[in-house]
Each structure stands twice: as C-alpha cells, then as structure tokens.
Amino acid sequence: MLNLTPLNQTHRDMGAKMVDFGGWEMPLHYGSQIEEHHQVRRDAGMFDVSHMRVVDVEGAQARAFLRILLANNVDRLTLPGKALYSCLLHEDGGVLDDLIVYFLREDWFRIVVNAATADQDIAWMLQQRAARAAGLKITPRPDLAMIAVQGPNARAKVWQALPGSQASSQALGLFQALPLPPWFIARTGYTGEDGFEIILPAPDAPALWLALAAAGVKPVGLGARDTLRLEAGMNLYGQDMDEATSPLEAGLAWTVDLDSPRDFIGKAALLAHPPQRQLVGLLLEQGGVLRAHQSVHSAQGDGEITSGSFSPTLNLSIALARVPLGVRPGATIEVEIRGKRLPAKVVKYPFVRHGKPCYGEN
C-alpha cells in the first residue's frame, strides 16, 4: 500500500503518470518531463513535495540542541525566518540526511527532512533529545502539505493566485520564511530558480494547487525535479551521499562548520578523517546519457558517477561523480557506458544558473 499525498487525486485528474517513489505514489510527469523542466526555467512550475516531512522543534533549549545536532551552525540564524541548509551526521561522520532548518523564534525552529529518511531522522532526534535536552518539544507534522512553486515568474504567480499574500511576502529575502498561520511561505527551493515553498494544512492543498494552475503555474513531476536539481548542482540524499559517506566527500564541505569552537555530532570523526575523494561535475560532449553507478577512470584513479541524467537546458548529459582528489576541472576522464569507454569533461558545478550554462572549466 503506497502512501498518498493530499494531492493524489488532483494529480490523476491532471493526467499525471503516477509512480512508486520510496513508498509514496507520486507524479513522474504530466505528459513530458522535458517540457516541464523548460517551464520551470522559463516561467513557473509547481511540485507536490508533501511527502517530505516538517518537524517543529520548540522550547527554550531549541537553539542549543540544534547547535549540537547539526553540522552547519544555527548561530548564523539571527534574522527571524532565516533558513540554513545542513547535514544531519552520525557520530562516525556519515550523513543521515540533508535538511533545511528555519529559525522562527528563539523557542521555535522548523526543520524539513527528506521523505525516505523522515522516520529515522525523527527517531535519531528523539534519541539525542533524551540524552541532551529532555523537555524539548519535537513535533513531526504529517498534517501539513507542501507545494513548491519555482521559476522566474513563480513569486508573481503565487501573489496572483493568493490575493493578499504579496503584501506580507514580498519583502522575504532569499532563504527566508514567514509564518502566516496556519500557512508558512519560504523563499527556498530545489531547482536553482527563485520561488516559494508553501507549507499548509493538508486539506487546503488541492484548492491552492488549482488556484496556482489557474494563475498559469504548470504542474511538474519528479522526473523534471531531478533534472532541475542536477543542473543546479544540488545533492540528492541516497545517491550523492548516504550514511556511509562523509559530507566532505560529497561536495558539502561548505555546509559543515569545522572552523568555530562549537562541538557537534560527527565533528571529531570528520577532523580525524580528511577527505580522500571529491565530488566533481561531468559533461558528456557527445550523444548518450551518464547514469548513477557508471564507473569512471582518470589519471588519478577510478571513481563512480553518483547522479547522472540529461540536461534539457544544456541539451547534453551531465553528472556528479565521486573521484580521487587531484582530478581537475577541464580534465577529460573516461566513463564506462554500456561496455564502452567514452570521454567526459570534468567541470565545476553548478551547470546552469539563471537559465544559462555556468559550469567552470578551470
């Protein structure tokens, strides 16, 4: 029995091809995932991300608890509504999940975690609370749905669909959120485009989706979600990193605060084990598709593609790959595709920004 989001019937009514995504029935596309990808880069598209899990952390010890729980430093969050992208690490430095944490009040932080890892993340947080912060309130919120509206015209179309929303949300900066009880609007996303992620009570989700559709926002499925995030150089938990991966070998060193004196779970392990590998971008400059788990061969040794797909914006195949340190942007390495070795160029990612190529070759 698959889990259903509050928008399940709405997706079916719109002609979605539904698939099993980690135990959830989700829309893969509504006709053409490539068209949906272009719509987000050029205009506005919306995603049902209600399978992800909101967790509220409340109480006087909230900040102190998150200071030790998360690899990134919540002390950077002082402006109300400001958000931070962080990894949740195990004591051995392996990544349990990646997540976004929003600072709302000193006694209220909101976290959004991945669907597939939500149960384990919550169990881990409760375990850590028992040891460190008894009395802290940790509340998973399966009663909430989430719709991400992304694209250059996304915010304008949200304001069109929700009369009155512009006045309060227009001043939101990037990576900042605003509670509008019982709703919550965040200027965050997973596509590299501007836009809002709207968290709201589950029963309200279908009406919002239809209002956004009436304002010209196109429904976008998981297929395009993956090609968009890959172009934007954003990691996917379970592919680019997992419990056996250090964030330092997953291109996430920038999210791990090792410089301040703050202790956090996993810090000692990361300091004791400097990275031996790095995550790089790859471009296939000929026909074909780079895919996860394909082996790569470089002058510095072998590696593996962690995420690969087709980039509709660049019209060629792109990938992230874990390779030895010493592999440099601009170098050519070989990828094994269906038994043949094809040359691929190493680049600095992200691959696309503001709808244009932006990868670095040196």
């Binding site: 596309h29 053409s32 995932q33 490539i34 993956d226 026909g287 074909g288 598709v289 087709f310 269906r338």
Partner: protein, 129 residues
C-alpha cells in the same frame, strides 16, 4: 495508445512496415515510447551492418533508462533516420512516423511471420498486468 492495423510488430515492441521495393522500415511502438518517456538519444545501426533476427541493433535512451532495439528480421541495414540525432523526441511525438532504420531482409517471406496488430495488442495487454 495506438497500434496501426497496417503494420506488423514484434514482442519486443518494434513496428515493421514493408516497402514497395521489399525493404522494411523499423521503429518502436507508441506503447514503447510511452513506457520510456522523453527520449534524449537514439543510436541507430550503421548502414551496411548485417543483422540476425532478434539481434540488438540500436539503442534508445530516455532520461529514465536505456533500451535496446532488436532486428525484427535477418538482413542488412540500408539506412538510418538522420533526423533523430538532433531530435530524438520525434519518436515520442510520432512513434510510427519517426522510423529508426531500414533493412533489406535476407528472406522477404519472414515478414509474414511477424505479429499482426491484434497479436501485438495481446502482447501489450499481457505486459500491462
């Protein structure tokens, strides 16, 4: 999802049309393109290549996965559809118009052993369950 009555088919989802000169034109069916999703790359066989029946001879790749295309009959490849290299999605838009390759069969009578539309419909029905 369409299955034109005037074509023949294979159980591996190729369609086959006999031309006036005895050659056959081959592509993949509407059912196949729907399963694959948006196509981003097609690698047809090279002209002159000799194929055995059911031999892997072409690749169609969607964002989701790569799929092999199989020779419906033994014969020699006479042409590949050049249009597909710049526009693989033509197959998604018009599976029966966007042919992949042409073949001169070793034995023209083999064409009659292929599945007709009703038999292919049965293949599709079986796969949908």
């Amino acid at each position: 999802m369409t299955i034109p009555a005037d074509l023949k088919y294979t159980a591996s989802h190729e369609w086959v049309r006999r031309e006036d000169d005895g050659s056959v034109t081959v592509g993949i069916t509407d059912f196949a393109q729907q399963l694959l999703g948006d196509l981003v790359y097609v690698e047809p066989p090279e002209a002159g290549r000799k194929l055995a029946a059911a031999e892997e001879c072409a690749v169609v790749e969607s964002v989701k996965s790569a799929s092999d295309v199989y020779a419906p009959l033994a014969g020699e490849v006479t042409a590949a559809n050049e249009e597909l290299s710049g526009a693989p999605q033509l197959i998604n838009q018009d599976a029966y118009g966007a042919w992949i390759f042409r073949l001169a069969p070793d034995n023209p009578a083999d064409f009659d052993t292929l599945l007709d539309a009703a038999a292919y419909q049965a293949v599709v029905d079986a796969e949908a369950h």
